[in-house]
C-alpha cells in the first residue's frame, strides 16, 4: 500500500481535478493521520474481519423495481438551463478528439 505522502495527496487531487494549496495539502495529511491511527486500532478488534460491513442505514432495506415503462423525458431546454455554454440543443465543449486544434 503506498504511503500517504504529500506527493500522493497531490496525485489524488489531480485525479479528482482539484487543485490544492500547500496548506490544504498539509491539512489533508494531518486529518488523515488521525483517521489512519483510529482505523488501525480497529484492526485489533476481536473478530473484526468476521463482521459484515454495513452499507445501508436500514437492515430490512428492500425495494421493488418500477415497471419498465417509458415515461416522458425532461425537455432539453430544462436540462440545459443551467449550462453556461450551449449551442441549440447541445452542450458546447472544446474539441475532445483529434488533438487541440
Amino acid at each position: 500500500m503506498p504511503k500517504f505522502t504529500k506527493e500522493l495527496v497531490d496525485d489524488l487531487a489531480k485525479k479528482l481535478l482539484i487543485g490544492l494549496s500547500e496548506e490544504e495539502n498539509q491539512m489533508v495529511l494531518d486529518e488523515f493521520a488521525i483517521i489512519d491511527e483510529n482505523l488501525r486500532k480497529v484492526e485489533d478488534f476481536p473478530n473484526i474481519k468476521e463482521v459484515t460491513p454495513m452499507t445501508h442505514a436500514l437492515d430490512d432495506f428492500s425495494f421493488t423495481l418500477r415497471e419498465d415503462v417509458a415515461t416522458p423525458s425532461i425537455p432539453i431546454e430544462d436540462a440545459l438551463r443551467n449550462c453556461d455554454s450551449k449551442e441549440g440543443r447541445e452542450v458546447e465543449v472544446p474539441k475532445v478528439v483529434g488533438g487541440e486544434n
Partner: protein, 482 residues
C-alpha cells in the same frame, strides 16, 4: 411568528390574522435576520399568501435549506460550484409542503453541501448564532436553525448526515428532528453521503416537528430507499403518556469523571443533563446507566469521516461546471473542470474529497472503507441490543453550549470527544432522533437528544413531548445575550 403551528392555525382559521400578514412579517424578519446573522442565501420577496384550509400548515411561512431543489428558485447548496443553479423541479419534501399550502419565504445558508458542522463554510459567509453572535450556530443546517430560533417562522427544513439538524438545533435552543431513514424521500435533496443522509425539520416544539414530518413523509417512486409510512400518524400519536417507558444513557459519555480536563461549561452541561434524567424518572419512566465498549465509541468520529468522505467523493463527481454550474477556464475540458472545482470548492470539501478518494482506492478499501463499515455495523448492533430492553437512548448533545466562532474549524483532531459526535450513530443505523432544549449554560441554550429504534418515531416523539412539557423551553425565541 413566535407562535407554534397549532396556535398560528387557530388564529388563521378564526381570522384573527391573515396568511398575507404572516408572509409580510416573515419577510420583514428575514431581512432583519439576514442583516444581523447572515442566515440566508435567498429571500423570496415575492412570496404570496395561500388559502387557509384545514391543513395545519396552510397559510404559514417556512424556510428551506439551500440543498433542497426548489423549482425556479436558486438552490446553491451554499457552494460556489452551484452559485447560479436554478432547478427545474421541486424536491419531493418541498412539493408536499407546497401541496399542504405552506409558503416558502427563504432559502437558508448551510455548510457547503452539508459537509461541515460549524455554519462557517457557506459561500455567503459565516452564519452567526442569534443568542450570541460571537458563537456558532453549528451546522450544517445553520441558517435554518438561526432563522427558526430568531422567530422568522415556526419551522425550516434541514438535512442530517451526521448531526446537521440536531446539533444546530441544540446550539440555537430549538427542536431538531430527523425521522427514521427513508421516511421522507430524499429526491431533490443534494446528496452528500447517501447511506447517511436524512431529511428533517428544525422547529420550536415537538408537536410542530410531528406536524411538519407528517406532511413531508411518504413513499416516493423517485427515491427507492423511501418506504410506506401511511399507517404512522406522528401528530395524532402524541399523547404524552410515557409511564413505564424505559430509557438508558451511556456511562462513557455522561460521566464527568471521564473528562479530567472538563471545562466549567461541560461540567454544568452534564450536571444539567443528569437533573433531566431525574425529571424523566419523575414522569414515570425508568432510566438506567449502561456501558458501551469505549474502544468502539472512540472509533466513531474517524469511521464517520471515512464513510461520509468516501460516499461524498463519488456523489459529487458530477460537479464539473460543464453541464451545469459556472464554466471554468481552460483550453480543454479537463482544465475547465479543474478550474471549476479548484475555485468552487472550499478547502474543507477538497480535503474530504481527497481523503474519500484515498479510502476508496482498491488497495485501501479493506483497511479503511470496509473496516469503517464493520465498525458502523458493530455500533448499530450495540444500539439495537439496547433497544431490545429500552425504548430509547437519551444523551446530552455536544459538550456544552455553542462554541465560539474561532474555536473549531471542522478539523478532526486527536482530542475530538465522542460526546461531540455520538449523534452520528443515529445516521449509521437510520434511527429516529430528536434534540430538544434542556436548559442553559453560560446563559446559552443546551440540549439533550432522544434516539430510538427504526420506525419507532412515535415513541421517540412522545418521550420528547413529555419532557418538553415538563420543562420551560418549548417554543423559545432567541434572546440575544451578546
Amino acid at each position: 411568528m413566535d407562535k407554534t403551528i397549532e396556535e398560528l392555525h387557530e388564529l388563521l382559521i378564526n381570522k384573527k390574522i391573515t396568511s398575507k400578514e404572516l408572509v409580510e412579517e416573515a419577510l420583514k424578519k428575514s431581512h432583519e435576520v439576514e442583516e444581523k446573522y447572515n442566515a440566508f442565501v435567498t429571500i423570496l420577496d415575492d412570496a404570496k399568501e395561500t388559502e387557509v384550509t384545514d391543513n395545519l400548515l396552510s397559510g404559514i411561512p417556512f424556510g428551506i435549506k439551500d440543498n433542497y431543489s426548489t423549482k425556479d428558485i436558486l438552490s446553491t447548496g451554499s457552494s460556489n460550484t452551484l452559485k447560479d443553479y436554478v432547478p427545474f423541479f421541486n424536491a419531493t419534501a418541498v412539493q408536499k409542503l407546497l401541496d399542504a399550502g405552506a409558503i416558502p419565504v427563504n432559502k437558508t445558508a448551510m455548510d457547503e453541501f452539508g459537509m461541515g458542522g460549524t455554519g462557517t463554510t457557506c459561500h455567503t459567509g459565516i452564519v452567526k448564532n442569534p443568542w450570541d453572535s460571537t458563537r456558532m450556530t453549528a451546522g450544517s443546517s445553520a441558517g435554518s436553525a438561526c432563522a427558526v430560533a430568531a422567530g422568522v417562522y415556526p419551522y425550516a427544513l434541514g438535512s442530517d448526515t451526521g448531526d446537521s439538524i440536531r446539533k444546530p438545533a441544540a446550539y440555537c435552543g430549538i427542536v431538531g428532528y430527523k425521522p427514521t431513514y427513508g421516511m421522507i424521500s430524499r429526491y431533490g435533496l443534494f446528496p452528500f453521503a447517501s447511506s447517511l443522509d436524512h431529511c428533517g425539520v428544525l422547529c420550536r416544539s415537538v408537536k410542530d416537528a410531528a406536524i411538519v414530518v407528517d406532511a413531508m413523509k411518504g413513499i416516493d417512486e423517485h427515491d427507492m430507499t423511501s418506504w410506506d409510512s401511511r399507517d404512522i400518524h406522528l401528530y395524532e400519536s402524541i399523547d404524552g403518556n410515557v409511564k413505564g417507558m424505559k430509557l438508558c444513557y451511556i456511562k462513557e459519555l455522561c460521566d464527568s469523571k471521564n473528562y479530567p480536563n472538563a471545562s466549567e461549561e461541560l461540567k454544568s452541561h452534564l450536571k444539567n443533563f443528569m437533573e433531566k434524567i431525574e425529571l424523566c424518572k419523575s414522569l414515570g419512566m425508568t432510566v438506567d446507566e449502561v456501558s458501551i465498549d469505549e474502544k468502539l465509541l472512540n472509533a466513531l468520529p474517524s469511521v464517520y469521516v471515512a464513510i461520509s468522505c468516501a460516499e461524498a467523493t463519488s456523489n459529487m463527481s458530477n460537479l464539473t461546471g460543464i453541464i451545469f454550474g459556472p464554466r471554468g477556464n481552460g483550453k480543454n475540458y479537463e482544465e475547465m473542470m479543474m478550474d471549476h472545482r479548484t475555485k468552487g470548492f472550499s478547502p474543507l470539501i477538497k480535503r474530504r474529497f481527497v481523503i474519500g478518494s484515498y479510502i476508496l482506492q482498491k488497495e485501501n478499501q479493506e483497511r479503511y472503507f470496509k473496516n469503517a463499515g464493520r465498525v458502523r455495523r458493530m455500533l448499530v448492533d450495540a444500539w439495537k441490543k439496547l433497544y431490545e430492553t429500552y425504548d430509547a437512548v437519551i444523551l446530552p448533545v455536544s459538550s456544552g453550549p455553542a462554541k465560539h466562532l474561532d474555536s473549531d474549524k471542522d478539523m478532526l483532531t486527536k482530542d475530538t470527544a465522542v460526546l461531540e459526535e455520538h449523534l452520528q450513530i443515529g445516521n449509521f443505523g437510520g434511527f429516529p432522533s430528536i434534540t430538544i432544549p434542556d436548559g442553559f449554560v453560560s446563559d446559552l441554550p443546551v440540549a439533550l437528544n432522544i434516539t430510538g429504534n427504526c420506525y419507532n418515531d412515535s415513541k421517540v416523539l412522545n418521550i420528547a413531548y413529555a419532557l418538553e412539557s415538563a420543562m420551560d423551553y418549548k417554543n423559545q425565541i432567541a434572546k440575544e445575550v451578546k
